[in-house]
């Protein structure tokens, strides 16, 4: 079974290897140049002490400006990638066997088909984990100076570093296996797996992920921008994941949206940070910031990876169970 799985998927294994090599060729030199800038501009020193100073703020802003293009935008192209990789590999497991009629050859040897499928799934899942794990390690290294400044919860970081990339790909793989069984065609199964992947992945990122743990609240009396991908941190230490920022009055009540708009407009006409902070102080206003602390990164990674791997296991379980019934 091991040899047969290798023989049937060796082209895909080679493609995985090429992907790793290409990513290394692009991201390792670029990561090195980011590191050089990071050291040269003294960003590490800024993050350790006076992050609020004007000098450090402008240095960090410039740094983010410079790397944001590739670090966030280029990596955004990797969002659909787990769906494609997983879908293609998954769909070829059963979809291709049905499409070419070779299921009748494969399942009339002396290996029962559930064992045939289980062995194949386990080997392929291991192969996928190796490829995506390598990519995640590479992305983590490449992005680590940027993550010091913008935090590991930004989409380009959280979705590619750690365990999530592997979880996503395994989920798409499982969807591809099941879709191949149901649709009996390779290409429609890839499309179905990719659609399922996007349909789960996007709501999880934008709706579910902020809710894995109850966010923490803190009050801030400075107008220094702290949200958005370009926000430079204003306090030392790894940046938190800011979920929302609302104006509250001295008794702690949130201002109405219209009132918040008015305040923002008036503050926008003030041209220095000190003037804006003085304005807030004069009106007895503060910001209430809802955030996920930076040290929850691995907890969130584990939760999200477990969610996707759990879904993958369920889909694969359905595929194995359906195959076991031998009803079509």
């Amino acid at each position: 079974m091991m040899w047969l799985t290798w023989r049937q998927h060796r082209a895909q294994a080679c493609a995985g290897l090429i992907l790793i090599i290409l990513a290394a060729a692009i991201f390792l030199p670029y990561g090195q140049s980011i590191r050089d800038t990071y050291t040269h501009d003294g960003i590490g020193a800024c993050l350790q002490q006076g992050t609020g100073g004007d000098h450090c703020q402008s240095v960090m802003s410039a740094f983010l400006q410079q790397v944001n293009g590739i670090a966030n935008h280029l990596l955004t192209w990797f969002t659909p990638l787990p769906g494609l990789i997983g879908g293609i590999v998954g769909a070829s497991v059963l979809g291709r066997e049905y499409e070419h009629g070779t299921w009748r050859l494969a399942w009339t040897q002396a290996v029962p088909r559930t064992r045939w499928l289980t062995t194949r799934i386990l080997l392929l899942a291991a192969g996928i984990a190796v490829v995506t794990g390598s990519l995640s390690v590479m992305f983590g290294w490449f992005r680590s100076p940027v993550d010091q400044v913008s935090g590991r919860f930004s989409p380009g970081a959280f979705d590619l570093e750690g365990l999530t990339l592997t979880g996503y790909t395994l989920f798409a793989f499982a969807a591809g296996v099941l879709a191949g069984h149901l649709l009996r065609r390779t290409v429609p199964a890839i499309v179905a797996a990719f659609t399922a992947y996007m349909a789960v992945r996007i709501p999880v990122e934008f709706w579910l992920r902020p809710r894995y743990q109850t966010p923490v609240t803190r009050l801030a009396s400075t107008a220094n921008p702290t949200i958005g991908p370009m926000a430079a941190p204003t306090s030392p230490g790894p940046p938190d994941w800011i979920l929302s920022r609302d104006l509250v009055d001295h008794s702690g009540h949130t201002l109405s949206p219209t009132l918040q708009d008015q305040v923002s407009q008036q503050m926008g006409s003030l041209n220095s940070l000190a003037a804006r902070d003085a304005y807030l102080h004069g009106h007895g206003l503060q910001y209430r910031i809802l955030y996920q602390p930076a040290d929850r990164f691995w907890t969130f990674q584990t939760i999200e990876a477990a969610l996707f791997i759990g879904l993958a296991t369920a889909l694969l379980g359905i595929a194995i169970w359906r195959l076991h019934k031998r009803s079509t």
């Binding site: 040899w3 070419h100 009629g101 009339t108 040897q109 002396a110 029962p112 031998r326 009803s327 079509t328």
Partner: protein, 288 residues
């Protein structure tokens, strides 16, 4: 008589449609069985039940005493199968396919497979997708034979083959059968392909077994009666089919009902296998 294949009230259903129902068969070891029926009669369904590709919806199917319906390794090891259109992995080399067979089977005769392919002039290094249809069918047969299974099942093995490839395929098949004393179950919708090599017949129509048994026995059990034109044949027992022309009437009757002598004026002839099968297929309601 040892039983190679035994079906007991076997049935298979896709949704609400019964592809095969009430199928009871007992086929002896060493026989070469023709499974005949029109397209959609349930031949492939029956063969897939024998090979364990399908799980019966009702009844049971046994191969040399093993329950084939459970799809276990022991039962699978007893059946060599060449599926319709002899599917193979087109990207594999012939040697890859043999290695696959070796790794997926309990028994495997690599030397036998290599010798068969060498005799046919099919190189082991050749890519399967580059071989001709006839060569692919020979590779599929070599794979099935290398399992050393006592029962060989072939689904429409001759369809899509040119006449020379057909002849070569049957020659190799029958040589293997003679050598190893295999039991062979092969399907076709054209009996002419199978008549010279088969000694047993299973006639399937609309998911039901119409006729089953040794071909000699089946032929001996039917007569063709020719007599004057008449519209009333209802009183003749055992009529399978009546055909009328202006001048006379032909009746295909079963002799086991014992009263063929009621028509002394009629002429009685033996019937050919092809004509007998056609007669049954035209009358799906008649079963024996």
């Amino acid at each position: 008589m040892n039983t190679a294949l035994e079906a007991e009230n076997l049935g298979m259903r896709y949704g609400r449609f019964w592809a095969l129902r009430n199928c009871s068969l007992r086929l002896p070891t060493g026989s070469v069985i023709a499974l005949v029926g029109p397209n959609g009669a349930g031949k492939t369904t029956l063969l897939h039940l024998v090979t364990g590709l399908l799980q019966p919806a009702e009844g049971s199917i046994g191969v040399f005493g093993e329950d084939a319906g459970k799809g276990g390794a022991q039962a699978m090891a007893r059946v060599g199968f060449v599926a319709q259109d002899h599917p193979l992995y087109p990207g594999f080399s012939v040697a890859d396919l043999l290695r696959m067979g070796c790794s997926l089977n309990l028994r495997w005769d690599q030397a036998l497979a290599e010798k068969r392919l060498a005799d046919l002039g099919i190189p082991l290094k050749a890519r399967v997708g580059k071989l001709s249809g006839g060569q692919q069918s020979q590779v599929a047969l070599a794979l099935a034979l290398a399992k050393r299974a006592p029962l060989l099942v072939l689904d429409e093995p001759l369809a899509n083959l040119d006449p020379i490839a057909r002849r070569n395929f049957m020659r190799v098949l029958m040589a293997a059968v003679a050598e190893d004393g295999l039991t062979v179950l092969l399907s076709s919708h054209v009996i002419a392909d199978l008549e010279p090599v088969c000694d047993h017949l299973v006639l399937l129509n609309q998911g039901k077994v119409q006729l089953a048994g040794a071909i000699d026995h089946v032929l001996a059990g039917h007569r063709l009666l020719t007599g004057p034109h008449t519209d009333t044949v209802g009183d003749v027992p055992g009529v399978v089919r009546a055909t009328r022309s202006d001048r006379h009437t032909d009746l295909l009757v079963r002799t086991d009902v014992g009263r063929t002598d009621v028509h002394p004026a009629w002429q009685s002839h033996p019937v050919g296998l092809e004509e007998l099968i056609l007669a049954y297929l035209e009358q799906p309601a008649v079963t024996r």
